[in-house]
């Protein structure tokens, strides 16, 4: 990895917040600055952009992504079984 700008947003919006042209421009500027300033591989910079300043909301989106809840374990296993079965019985379809 040559250079990496880490934008600490929920996955899906690495270039800035939806419908926020200022934030998107700011993220791009950080990207361009990193392109100019990095001198070694794996140079990683964290964007100054913040998704939310509300503590509970900040915790929530981080915790909820791919969350494993004890009460969902049976359903998760069933989903995995169904997926493996579907992929095994559909030859030729990409996995």
């Amino acid at each position: 990895m040559p250079r990496f700008l880490f934008v600490d947003y929920p996955l899906g919006n690495p270039c800035g917040r939806p419908d926020d042209v200022e934030d998107q421009a700011a993220v791009l500027e950080e990207t361009l600055t990193l392109l100019e300033s990095a001198t070694a591989p794996r140079t990683t910079v964290q964007s100054a952009s913040v998704w939310t300043t509300e503590p509970a909301a900040d915790i929530a989106w981080r915790a909820n992504y791919m969350e494993i809840r004890p009460e969902n374990l049976d359903d998760m296993r069933a989903w995995g079984d169904a997926r493996r079965t579907a992929q095994a019985t559909a030859p030729g379809r990409p996995r």
Binding site: P2, G12, P18, E36
Partner: protein, 175 residues
């Protein structure tokens, strides 16, 4: 397995997506964790010239929009794109892209605004302001592929396209 919510100041702030996805798929019964590519020697090249003279391109992992399938079983079980790299003109800027089968956070946000993951408009503005030399005439797609061998082959294809378009530097935006 995660069993406690993150507490401010008591847990790592940023989400460790590698750990999170490994644990998630293990809970779904996948016994072998995905082994992410690692490169002991990461390639690095300084800019060939000042950025204000560089042609900047974009590589996306999204796919040209073809249909909305969010919520259908097919989205969960099968990829719905060809998984082949592609090239598309930046003009006109796509109004939407196909992202249904990618693992972005569908509870916390959306991908209706393509500028949030395909920064063509932002690069055009940077070019107009003289911050960069120009935007590449095409953007390139590298659809998510779990085969590292195939990904390496796709990278070579895209590198040739970059040469064709005289691109000096690319921004890879994974989604």
């Amino acid at each position: 397995m995660r069993s406690k919510p993150a507490l401010p100041g008591a847990h790592r702030h940023a989400v460790s997506y590698i750990d999170r996805s490994r644990e998630y798929y293990a809970a779904c019964g996948y016994e072998q964790p995905y082994r992410w590519a690692t490169n002991a020697d990461s390639p690095f090249a300084p800019l060939p010239k000042p950025l204000a003279q560089c042609r900047v391109g974009i590589i996306t992992t999204s796919y040209p929009h073809h249909e909305d399938l969010a919520g259908s079983d097919d989205v969960e079980f099968f990829p719905l794109t060809t998984k082949a790299p592609y090239a598309q003109p930046v003009d006109p800027i796509p109004s939407r892209m196909f992202t249904d089968d990618l693992s972005w956070d569908k509870d916390a946000t959306h991908t209706d605004d393509v500028a949030t993951f395909l920064p063509i408009a932002q690069l055009a503005a940077a070019a107009a302001a003289g911050r960069i030399g120009s935007t590449a005439p095409r953007f390139f797609g590298a659809p998510t592929n779990y085969s590292q061998r195939q990904t390496n082959a796709d990278a070579e294809t895209i590198a040739r396209w970059c040469d064709d378009d005289e691109v000096d530097v690319v921004v890879l935006v994974p989604l």
